[in-house]
């Protein structure tokens, strides 16, 4: 099939209506290969709904959502979309509490996802090596045998980012990665995400303006389910309509 578009992610005129409420209203957005984008917007702007559409949790009422130009995201389910290479980190860190840090990463590794073949699974040298590298990257090598439930909030956030990386996605959707982190952790997280964006596309939804400034990338402002403004953080913060929305006229 011929790619419809060169962009990695292509949303065109997407609307989602819940019982008459327009969560997304003709939203259009494109993300390029290895691009990092920050999405900001007040509560109810449609940020989470947008992620739900991209990951297959919510079906759009109308509009088009394409991945890598050839995959129609509106026709696939969550598992299929994840296997295509779209990883999602939730707002509240969701890790597998009863598993060790290492097992959390192991389950996330891009490997056979079928039930039957996982009964006969044995750890390969390659899996072991990749887990080592990931542990190193999220700085949790010394925590590897701890249960995820025992980790601090910030560590869980990092573990979840590590799990996202283990999936080797082409596009990472990251919902408020800095929520509840200390200043140092926030700065480290920004650095980690910038590093990831060298090879993979990253979409970050964030409330923390300092964090967005640290990321230093193109910003998209959502409001009432559609794009209000797009550009650098300085540009959008100078935009009159953005000020109006954020400060409430």
């Amino acid at each position: 099939m011929e790619p419809v578009t060169q962009s990695l992610l292509y949303l065109d005129n997407v609307s989602v209506v819940f019982d008459g409420f327009r969560a997304l209203n003709a939203l259009s957005l494109t993300i390029d290969e290895a691009e990092m984008r920050a999405i900001i917007g007040p509560n109810g702007a449609g940020k989470t709904t947008m992620m739900d559409v991209i990951t297959g949790k919510t079906r759009p009422t109308k509009g088009e959502a394409m991945f890598a130009g050839i995959h129609d995201l509106t026709k696939l389910d969550e598992a299929a979309i994840a296997q295509l290479g779209i990883g999602r980190k939730f707002q509240t860190p969701t890790v597998f509490d009863m598993h060790t840090v290492e097992d959390n990463l192991l389950l996330a590794l891009k490997e056979d996802r079928r039930a039957f073949s996982n009964i006969y699974w044995r750890r390969t040298a390659r899996e072991k090596e990749r887990i080592e590298i990931l542990l190193e990257r999220i700085r949790m090598t010394d925590q590897r045998f701890r249960k995820a439930a025992e980790l601090s909030h910030g560590q869980k956030q990092w573990l979840e980012i590590g799990m996202l990386l283990a999936q080797e996605p082409r596009l990472l959707l990251v919902d408020e990665p800095a929520a509840g982190m200390t200043d140092q952790e926030t700065a480290d997280t920004a650095e980690l995400l910038r590093d990831i964006a060298k090879t993979q596309s990253v979409v970050v939804v964030e409330h923390d303006m300092q964090f967005v400034r640290d990321l230093d990338v193109k910003v998209t402002v959502l409001h009432e389910g559609s794009v209000l403004a797009e550009g650098s953080l300085d540009q959008v913060s100078a935009n009159e309509r953005v000020i109006e929305v954020y400060l409430g006229r």
Binding site: T55, K57, E78, A79, A82, Q83, G87, R88, F90, T94, V95, F96, D97, M98, H99, D103, L106, L107, A108, R113, R114, A115, F116, N118, I119, Y120, W121, R122, M163, Q167
Partner: protein, 375 residues
């Protein structure tokens, strides 16, 4: 499977006890003379065998509830179907020795004016066929039920209620005479199993040993599953289902496999139960039976397999003793037990044992935080 070490110390201990019982109980019943303090009475052998069948049912419930997070209130359905499959084989073994002396039709069919054997009874005179049905019928029901339920993402209490409805519906269906399964009275008056008299001491002892082997085998199978990567995914589904889905796992397939296997184990438990108690009737499908199985697992320790088996034996031994004392009060005692365990022993008897063992192992560690006030 996770290398050689998928069975832990507790597991080996459990297997040793069950296999030990498989040998010792028959020996103590058949070889040790009556009157000796080591003699196991003829009354006790099938009773203990029954406990082992319940223990296998509990292990099956624990596999889906403890590891996959699916609280089944309908496992009695699978247990009962396995039991009926075995019961049908046993009925066909009666042959012309029934009250009406019909060589083909079981007594209840003669009584109900059946002219010929219904098609779904065909083949049940042959043990290997009956054995396959013991696995196949509960497995098929579980597969169909799970296919629809898990695909439609029915979870939590809604799923539990549907499982309860499933077993209730089966109970009502089997109560009807024209279902062809003996209606209200069920299947009973068994004579032989595999050519051996079902009431003979040797047969009883062999059935006990078979139950013990099935329990040990079922445990090893479940343990291999839950320690594999498949099992790790199951636990992930239990604790964070949507996370697992967004990671690319087809959660419904994982649940379906676990659920179907569990149902087949329950079917085996039912099949071993019927020849030891000598009857199977629609009462086995009663919703209360499924709930009791869940209580055994909770009492023993959910998500441990060994605990589930232990809980089944403990609660049923308690039931036997208590109903001898105060039959009417048993359900109240069971309810109280469930409430107490939920409140004070959330990890069951096995969890309590673990806690005590940990305290004994390193008393210094636990003393330190107590000595130091809050930081």
């Amino acid at each position: 499977m996770n290398g050689t070490g998928f069975i832990d110390r507790k597991g080996w201990f459990f297997i040793a006890i069950v296999l030990g019982a498989a040998v010792l109980v028959p020996v103590a019943n058949l070889m040790v003379p009556e009157g000796s303090p080591l003699h196991v009475s003829d009354y006790l052998v099938p009773l203990l065998g029954k406990y082992l069948c319940y223990a296998l049912l509990a292990v099956a419930v624990d596999l889906v509830w403890g590891y996959c997070g699916v609280l089944s209130l309908g496992h009695a359905a699978f247990f009962g179907l396995g039991g009926y499959a075995m019961g049908m084989y046993l009925m066909r073994q009666i042959g012309p020795r029934g009250v009406y002396g019909n060589p083909i039709l079981p007594d209840f069919m003669v009584f109900l004016n059946y002219k010929e054997l219904p098609w779904f009874w065909w083949g049940f005179d042959w043990f290997p066929f009956a054995f396959v049905m013991v696995l196949f019928v509960p497995g098929l029901l579980a597969f169909l039920f799970g296919w629809f339920a898990f695909r439609s993402r029915v979870t939590g209490v809604y799923l539990s209620i549907i499982t309860q409805a499933m077993t209730y519906a089966l109970m009502l269906a089997f109560f009807r005479n024209d279902m062809g399964f003996g209606g209200n009275n069920g299947l009973t008056d068994f004579k032989d199993i595999l050519g051996f008299s079902i009431s003979a001491d040797g047969t009883r002892a062999a059935l006990f040993a078979a139950s013990a082997l099935a329990l040990a085998g079922g445990y090893v199978l479940c343990r291999a599953l839950v320690t594999s990567k498949y099992g790790k995914v199951l636990v992930a589904v239990r604790d964070a289902e949507s996370r697992t889905r967004f990671m690319g796992y087809r959660v419904e397939n994982y649940k379906l496999l676990c659920w179907t296997l569990s149902a087949m184990l329950a079917g085996v438990a039912g099949a071993l139960y019927v020849p030891q108690v000598g009857i199977i009737n629609p009462g086995e499908f009663a919703p209360a039976n499924s709930i009791e199985a869940v209580i055994w697992v909770a009492v023993g320790g959910r998500g441990t397999l060994v605990g589930a088996a232990l809980g089944a034996v403990l609660v049923n031994a308690g039931k036997t003793w208590f109903t001898g004392l105060l039959p009417e009060a048993w359900l109240f005692a069971l309810g109280a037990l469930f409430v107490l365990v939920t409140l004070f022993l959330p990890r069951g008897v096995l969890g309590l044992w673990d806690t005590l063992a940990a305290k004994r192992a390193k008393p210094a560690d636990t003393a330190v935080p107590a000595a130091k006030p809050a930081e």
